[in-house]
């Protein structure tokens, strides 16, 4: 989604979010990621200014105090955590681990193929349905390298073992990751 993301062209507007809308977002995020509840005030502090960054293609980013975007969604769809947020709270999303060979392709924005999830270095720890938001981790690495949506259920991934298994939504060093860099030195807002 962010492979060809150009902040100067793709950002339409940046507006502060009303507190009533903030509450709605907060409840939706809590609903989606119940495990984040003890930390919700760190992730989405009530007192700070929330900024809605609207982009082309009905893409919305949410940033706290003009910091790096924390969440994003499409139209009114579910909220995705940004990779920085996932790095800080790796339990937010279910894990899928790919083997080493897949890393370089994922970092170029490729979708995750079935063999990358079924080979020796890969792990599928929990059974997941299709169309589920997942964090992509890698063999021998601690941190997530991408966030995606499963196109097949884990069972199908094992059985079919061919073609796209997870659609790559947000990966390290894509447009959104780089956008987060601008004007940020500390990661305290994450």
């Amino acid at each position: 989604m962010f492979k060809k993301f150009n902040p100067q062209e793709d950002i339409v507007s940046q507006v502060p979010i009303k507190s009533s809308v903030q509450r709605a977002i907060r409840t939706q995020v809590l609903e989606q990621f119940s495990s984040i509840e003890p930390f919700i005030d760190n992730v989405l502090p009530k007192k700070e200014k929330w900024i809605l960054i609207k982009c082309h293609g009905h893409l919305n980013l949410i940033s706290i105090n003009y910091g790096p975007p924390v969440l994003f969604n499409l139209r009114t769809g579910p909220y995705f955590p940004s990779l920085r947020l996932l790095h800080a709270y790796p339990f937010l999303l279910p894990r899928l681990q790919v083997d080493k060979g897949a890393i370089k392709h994922i970092l170029k924005g490729a979708d995750i193929m079935c063999p990358g999830l079924t080979s020796a270095g890969a792990r599928i720890d929990e059974a997941l349905p299709s169309n589920r938001m997942v964090g992509i981790f890698a063999e021998g690495k601690e941190h997530a390298l991408a966030i995606g949506i499963t196109k097949l259920s884990t069972e199908e991934i094992r059985n079919v073992n061919k073609g796209v298994a997870v659609e790559n939504i947000h990966y390290l060093n894509d447009g959104l990751w780089k956008l987060e860099l601008e004007g940020t030195t500390s990661l305290s807002s994450c």
């Binding site: 800080a88 790796p90 370089k104 021998g140 601690e142 941190h143």
Partner: protein
Amino acid sequence: MTCDDSSSSFTSAFTQQDKYPLSVIYCGNCSLPFEYCEYNSPEEFQRCLLWRRENYPELFSTYDESLLSDALKNVTVSESLTKAVENNNRSAKKKAPPSPEVVVTKAQRKGRKQVTIISGLDKAGVKLSEFSKVCKKQFSCGASVVTAPDMREVVEVQGDHLQETLVLLKDQFSVPGEYLYVMDDNKRKVHAF
């Protein structure tokens, strides 16, 4: 560094609630977590390693040392710094000339109406609002400071005042002639004088 099995951290991460948010150290060179530096281009990775050696020597293992190319191995910190600065300078020179550029363009508005757009004034040390005021007086037309699509502030003067604005900039606002550029029909920047 990269070969250890992560399965231990896999499960233990869930038991220690207190340690969140995890603070992840990102490479100052490529902005990725350290473990992904190696997926950059080889040259970039060398720079990442140098950065890591300077800033996080405790995380710079002998394994990393072996990845560092021979040419850079014996470079001391200060030398590598100057090298990095040199590199930066070199690339900066290639990309953008340091001197400010004032670009004057004509654009079509509704029908046959034209506007003159002057961009890059702030870098040349001219106040945009002042310049637009003088334009209004001199050419008796509308002029205003607007934000261009690329989020830069530019002055928009109503009507075709291309040559006049150039002269005005040069004489009254003492912008050196070599800073002034005109956009020609092929959308290329050409020196005005």
